[in-house]
């Protein structure tokens, strides 16, 4: 019973890169005065203790492993689903279709599980002597919960770090460094006004997903013309719905963000594109259905109708506009992401001294 009170398990249980094969599992436990990192190798456990008074920082690095997994799973799922739809239309054998449907289900479940788990990350804990990776924290959501609990425990021991203290301590460190170098101390340059105080930084992830879905939508739209059928049309409708949902999400995300205006304009254009062609499709489709029903005297769905030349033209037009917007948006967004990774030149990057040992009076604040 005393052991249960001594250690409390924190969220997250991870494996190392080879953990899938070697069954190495990591977990974090909270004690009264320290954090315990446990590595379970199956038949033995290794322990590392980090006392609260020694913990200097916890660093969470967001990674793209989850997104890459989503992209790969999604791509595979899309290919197999398209193959399944194609096979269904071509009336392939039941066994083969059954296999394809099983694969679809498996990949769909994997994709849904990965989506539900959320984005991936790496967590590091820093003390005076080491920076230790916390393998049990590899998803952002449980990592945030765990870091919150650790922070409460550490702040109870060390106190809260205020921004004034950070500035003052950094100034002292700066002056100390300047003095030991034999250089006259000078006031530390003011930190660059962060754009995050008024406009938040946004990496454009939702927009990237939207542009990928738009490309997929344009492909499936063209396929629905080449190989018309219920399944293909269902997939096309789903892709268009997904594109619409993502467009709305992207518009919400880009509000008061530093994403380029071009990308914002492309997002609004996407919404207009989907909206306009959707309305045209509903109106024209209704006209076709009603007129065919009146002619034949029975209820007819749009799937019963072969694509008319106008539908073909409209679909090609919609696909072309979608594809162009997606390509333009992706290229501009990738350029923005690359640019935002390169810092503007800092004022105090290098303090070269001339032969007299004095500072060059160069850059201004």
């Amino acid at each position: 019973m005393s052991k249960q009170k001594e250690y409390v398990k924190l969220p997250g249980q991870g494996r190392s890169s080879f953990g899938v094969v070697t069954a190495i599992r990591y977990s974090l436990w909270l004690a009264r005065d320290h954090l315990l990192a446990v590595m379970n190798q199956g038949y033995s456990e290794d322990y590392k203790r980090f006392y609260f008074r020694d913990i200097q920082a916890i660093i969470l690095q967001k990674t793209s492993a989850g997104a890459v997994a989503n992209a790969v799973l999604g791509t595979i799922l899309f290919i197999i689903a398209s193959l399944t739809a194609f096979g269904y239309e071509r009336k392939w054998d039941t066994v083969g279709l059954g296999f394809l449907i099983c694969f679809d289900t498996v990949f769909l479940l994997c994709l849904l599980v990965n989506l539900a788990k959320g984005p991936t990350c790496k967590c590091f804990l820093r003390t005076a002597v080491q920076t230790e990776r916390l393998y049990s924290l590899h998803r952002v959501r449980p990592a945030h919960r765990t870091i919150k609990r650790i922070r409460e425990a550490v702040e109870a021991e060390q106190g809260i770090l205020t921004s004034e203290y950070v500035t003052a301590a950094s100034q002292m460190e700066y002056e100390k460094t300047s003095t030991t170098q034999g250089l006259p101390a000078r006031p530390m340059p003011q930190p660059v006004q962060s754009v995050h105080e008024t406009v938040r930084h946004y990496n454009g992830r939702v927009h990237l997903i939207l542009f990928c879905v738009m490309l997929a939508d344009s492909i499936t739209s063209c396929m629905s013309i080449l190989a018309p059928g219920t399944a293909i049309k269902a997939i096309t409708s789903l892709a268009t719905l997904a594109a619409l949902g993502l467009t709305i999400a992207a518009i919400l995300k880009q509000r008061r963000s530093d994403i380029p205006d071009t990308v914002k304009a492309i997002t609004w254009s996407t919404l207009a594109n989907i909206g306009v062609f959707w309305i045209i499709g509903i109106v024209y489709g209704s006209i076709l259905v009603f007129s065919a029903a009146i002619k034949s005297g029975r209820a007819i769905t749009t799937t019963d109708q072969p694509p008319t030349p106008l539908i073909v033209i409209l679909t090609i037009l919609y696909s072309a506009i979608s594809a162009c917007l997606a390509v333009l948006g992706t290229s501009r967004l990738l350029k923005f992401r690359k640019e935002s990774a390169v810092p503007p030149p800092l004022i105090e990057t290098s303090q070269e001294s001339d032969s007299s040992g004095t500072l060059n009076s160069g850059s201004e604040q």
Partner: protein
């Protein structure tokens, strides 16, 4: 050569110093060099100077207590385990207890100081695996069942994980092992009696 600034955080990818105005930011900030998105939770310990030890005082008056390990140094405290006098050099604080180096070494070997325990063998997991895994190839259980039973009994009271853990694995391993032994016994008896 510039003095290393140990009170700054570095990017975990490219080791570039993270600007102090990124500390404890609400959202992830991109590293100024590599662009990796980092969220930092920083505590006051990062700005705290490393603790320096106190040099032991030399014994000046003969009547004063001296350290057990350094006869010419003044005793500053007493080992809470063995009662020996210790100077500031020999005094080691673990979990708010003052101990001498000898007690630390013996405590670590005899596992009397839990805070020094760095690893534990999980005999219950081992016994359970020996009982269960060979069932995949059934014939191995004639050897593995007695081994599993031996492990379960021999290490029943051995120190297990320092985390909350019951002995259920030992119990399951014993049950499996006994059932396998009973099964093999019945099979052997049947074959012998059949002849």
């Amino acid at each position: 050569m510039a003095e290393t600034n140990t009170s700054t955080l570095s990017c975990v990818v490219c080791k570039t110093a993270i600007p102090t105005h990124f500390y404890n930011s609400i959202s992830a900030m991109p590293c100024t060099k590599c662009g990796a998105f980092l969220e930092t939770t920083v505590f006051p310990a990062i700005f705290r100077a490393p603790e320096t030890g106190v040099a032991p005082e030399t014994l000046t008056i003969e009547s004063e207590s001296s350290c057990f390990y350094h006869a010419n140094k003044k005793a500053a405290t007493v080992c809470e385990n063995c009662g020996r006098f210790l100077c500031t050099l020999c005094d080691v604080t673990i979990a708010n207890r003052h101990l001498c180096p000898a007690c630390i070494e013996s405590g670590q070997k005899k596992e009397k100081i839990p805070h020094l325990k760095k690893s534990r063998v999980l005999y219950d997991d081992l016994a359970l695996s020996i009982a269960v895994l060979p069932m995949l190839i059934f014939y191995f259980t004639i050897i593995s069942a007695p081994i599993s039973l031996f492990f379960s009994i021999r290490y029943w009271n051995a120190p297990s994980s320092i985390l909350p853990r019951t002995k259920i694995r030992f119990v399951i391993a014993i049950i499996f092992a006994l059932l396998q032994i009973l099964g093999w016994t019945a099979l052997i008896l049947y074959l012998v009696l059949k002849k």
